[in-house]
């Protein structure tokens, strides 16, 4: 069957025929890098237009409808505008940090893409500590935000960065603990193993209530970690104008913007992997006929379908809820989410030990 592994093998064979192994490896790395950057750009464009359309329809508006068919090329036009805009550095800013911050945000987002399985056999780096890697790296984002806020020489930026620091550090906990619930059920941190363990049903169905609780807390924590409304205190345009990226313009601003969206994508794909089986089609126990029919839908469609559904949910949050206050945000984490996830982890462990899951 047509699959990414076949294509990859074909490319590898062709390259191996013509070059020696070292150069082959180098070329393959370049190909992988270029496709990540390509995916990055495409994701940015798609997610921005998606967000604008979702928000418009929820707000009984039409949304962008001028550039391209039904306005679908609007984000391309926006990108063009951002590229030609002057990227200014404010007076008194720490130039090095100021210019470095957006790149760090973007590099972190790119690195996070490595362990994600986009389809069957399409995974760049199936390292054995996949989930740990993701949760470790995703907290590096806060460094870029702190750098941006500190170096901008603007009090709004500073406040935004400080808020973001407090927020990401605390929500990291419940995100990690919720992910652990599935790790406990699977017994592995490796993404590919987590996915194959769901061959007879997704964890959200197999894991009873604890899995559902873990999913809900994970989504909330992820929304907070990626600085999305209702937890967008780092930006909070009605309070801090634009928070940590108040002083950014042009392409540097676009990088922050892009990194935010790609982070949302990555976090949603992790959630899809953990709870909805990643690229694994919907399989139900041993209904072999049903499972067989589901297998006809390509795995990449399953993966992107699930991920985009979760992204939609996060956008849905954003366009429905008001923003929390900083102390309420921390209250929510320390008084509600953390106890719940911890208790849930115990529950999951019990379920796993007693073998109550399917």
């Amino acid at each position: 069957m047509w699959s990414f592994s076949n294509i990859a093998n074909l490319v590898h064979e062709v390259l191996a025929e013509h070059f020696n192994p070292a150069i082959t490896l180098a070329i393959e790395m370049v190909i992988a890098g270029v496709s990540v950057i390509g995916l990055f750009a495409i994701l940015g464009l798609v997610l921005v237009i998606m967000e604008r359309k979702v928000s418009a329809w929820m707000q009984i508006r039409l949304g962008p409808n001028r550039v391209g068919p039904k306005g679908m090329l609007q984000s391309l036009a926006d990108t063009l505008k951002l590229i030609v805009k002057e990227g200014m550095t404010p007076n008194g800013a720490d130039k090095l940090l100021f210019n470095l911050a957006p790149f760090i945000a973007m590099i972190v987002a790119m690195l996070l893409m490595a362990p994600i399985a986009f389809a069957k056999d399409l995974q760049m780096w199936d390292l054995n500590i996949g989930i740990l890697y993701v949760s470790a790296l995703s907290s590096v984002t806060v460094i870029s935000i702190l750098m941006a806020g500190w170096s901008s020489n603007n009090k709004f930026s500073l406040l935004g960065a400080m808020r973001s620091g407090a927020q990401i550090v605390s929500y990291e906990l419940s995100a990690g603990l919720s992910a652990l619930a599935i790790v406990v059920l699977t017994g592995s941190l490796q993404i590919s193993e987590i996915i194959t363990s769901q061959a007879n049903g997704w964890w959200i169905f197999k894991g009873h209530i604890p899995a559902i609780i873990a999913f809900v807390t994970f989504i909330i924590a992820v929304t907070a970690e990626t600085n999305r409304a209702p937890f967008d205190l780092a930006e909070a345009e009605s309070e801090l104008t634009a928070g940590f990226h108040t002083e950014y313009s042009g392409m540097k601003f676009a990088l922050f913007f892009l990194a935010e969206y790609v982070n949302v994508f990555i976090m949603c794909s992790i959630a899809a992997t953990l709870f909805f089986g990643g690229w694994m089609p919907l399989h139900i126990g041993n209904w072999h006929k049903f499972n067989h029919v589901m297998d006809f839908i390509p795995s990449s469609i399953w993966f992107f379908g699930k991920t985009f559904f979760l992204i939609f949910v996060i956008m849905w949050f954003r366009w429905t809820f008001p923003r929390l206050r900083i102390d309420q945000l921390l209250d929510l984490e320390w008084k509600y989410l953390l106890p719940i996830t911890m208790f849930n982890l115990l529950l999951v462990t019990a379920v796993a030990i007693l073998g109550w899951h399917f």
Binding site: I60, K155, A236, E239, W319, T320, P322, R323, L324
Partner: protein, 383 residues
């Protein structure tokens, strides 16, 4: 101008000096800031995220309307007042027209009185509608803004049909209203009431009942009734604290003494109480409109007045309840065709003055929410 800059620099210097000593953070919110809804400048002293002091700086949109009015005739000066509190333009015009009528001692025809009340209440709903959307937007929820505008646009369309403009209508004239109502007016208003009744529960679903919203609003920015009175607050701000002050009840003007309505009072004094007052006030306005819309008396829409109005020598004062509170119009006449002196007592000014008092000790996010519940219209404050 010089004086103002001097004061500003001095304020900045003193605060900068302070901040060195105490580690306070001084930030300027405004004059261009998304949450000030206009050109208000707040100098905020922060300790971390907690507010130690708020100092509003005014004057960025001062157009000296009071001085301008002195050179306009009694017919002309009314249109300028639409530009003060542009969200309750009708009510501003109404207050001025009433004040001039008081001086002229003309009797306004019944029909005109009823039309005026109808317009004023529609304006009040439109104003609260916009406030509701903007308030939710201050708290970070964008969607309610557009939903509120759907209803507000309907009112604007009604206004456009009858008065010829959507925002600054200049429809009230001394002696009545400028034109008779449009033949479709009654039907359109009834349609609006139906739409409103159909949609109002969405407001509760989207905002009022929302747990995040309630937590943001309850218990913050508490203003006691005594403080509300001593700061001169009026309108929903004072009524949210339990201070009864509805001008429509205490000093009824036009047809207000012919209609039944409740003065909306909440005793919480916090942001949520002020929010509830406005939401419930919309309901009362709908009640008033429903009582009057089928009972518009026949007759003239304007009393016969002279072409050139001359107020007798003396002082005239008239109050009216705008969407923001009590508006006072004070005219001193020397007997000529133009006022000798005009003073407006604008509700926004006193309501803003309370901000520093209630915001102390709150978070920045709360300050924005409080400014939302005070429902500030900056041109009304600066005039």
């Amino acid at each position: 101008m010089y004086r103002e800059t001097e004061i500003l620099t001095r304020a900045n210097q003193s605060t900068a000096h302070e901040s060195e000593d105490s580690g306070d953070l001084v930030i300027n919110v405004g004059p261009q800031h998304p949450a000030t809804h206009g050109v208000l400048h707040l100098v905020i002293t922060l300790n971390g995220e907690t507010i130690k002091n708020v100092e509003p700086h005014l004057g960025y949109i001062h157009r000296s309307i009071e001085k301008m009015c002195e050179s306009l005739t009694y017919r002309q000066f009314i249109y300028v007042t639409s530009r003060m509190d542009y969200l309750s333009a009708h009510i501003n015009n109404q207050a001025c027209a009433l004040c001039v009528e008081k001086g002229l001692q003309v009797e306004v025809p019944q029909r005109a009185q009823v039309i005026r009340v109808l317009m004023a209440e529609l304006t009040r709903i439109a104003s609260h509608e916009l406030w509701w959307g903007a308030m939710a937007m201050d708290l970070g929820a964008f969607t309610p803004f557009f939903h509120a505008f759907r209803e507000r646009e309907t009112i604007n369309d009604i206004m456009e049909e009858t008065c010829g403009a959507r925002l600054t209508m200049n429809y009230m004239v001394p002696g009545g209203v400028m034109m008779d109502i449009h033949p479709h007016f009654q039907q359109r208003v009834k349609d609006f009431i139906q739409l409103y009744r159909k949609k109002i529960h969405e407001y509760d679903e989207l905002v009022t009942g929302n747990i995040i919203f309630q937590n943001r609003m309850k218990g913050v920015g508490i203003l006691s009734a005594e403080d509300a009175i001593s700061y001169g607050c009026s309108g929903p701000v004072a009524r949210g604290s339990g201070a009864s002050c509805d001008t429509r009840k205490y000093y009824p003007y036009d047809a207000y003494n012919k209609v039944q309505f409740d003065e909306v009072l909440e005793t919480g004094g916090d942001s949520f109480a002020r929010y509830l007052v406005r939401v419930r006030e919309m309901q009362q306005s709908i009640n008033i409109i429903e009582q009057l819309i089928d009972n518009i008396p026949e007759g003239d829409f304007q009393a016969k007045t002279k072409a050139v109005l001359k107020l007798p020598k003396g002082e005239f004062y008239q109050r009216a309840e705008t969407a923001r509170g009590e508006l006072g119009v004070y005219i001193i006449s020397e007997g000529g065709t133009t006022p000798y002196r005009i003073k407006f007592r604008s509700p926004g000014f006193s309501n803003l003055s309370v901000l520093g008092h209630i915001a102390r000790g709150c978070k920045i996010g709360d300050l924005i929410a409080m400014m939302g519940t005070l429902d500030l219209v900056i041109p009304d404050i600066d005039r």
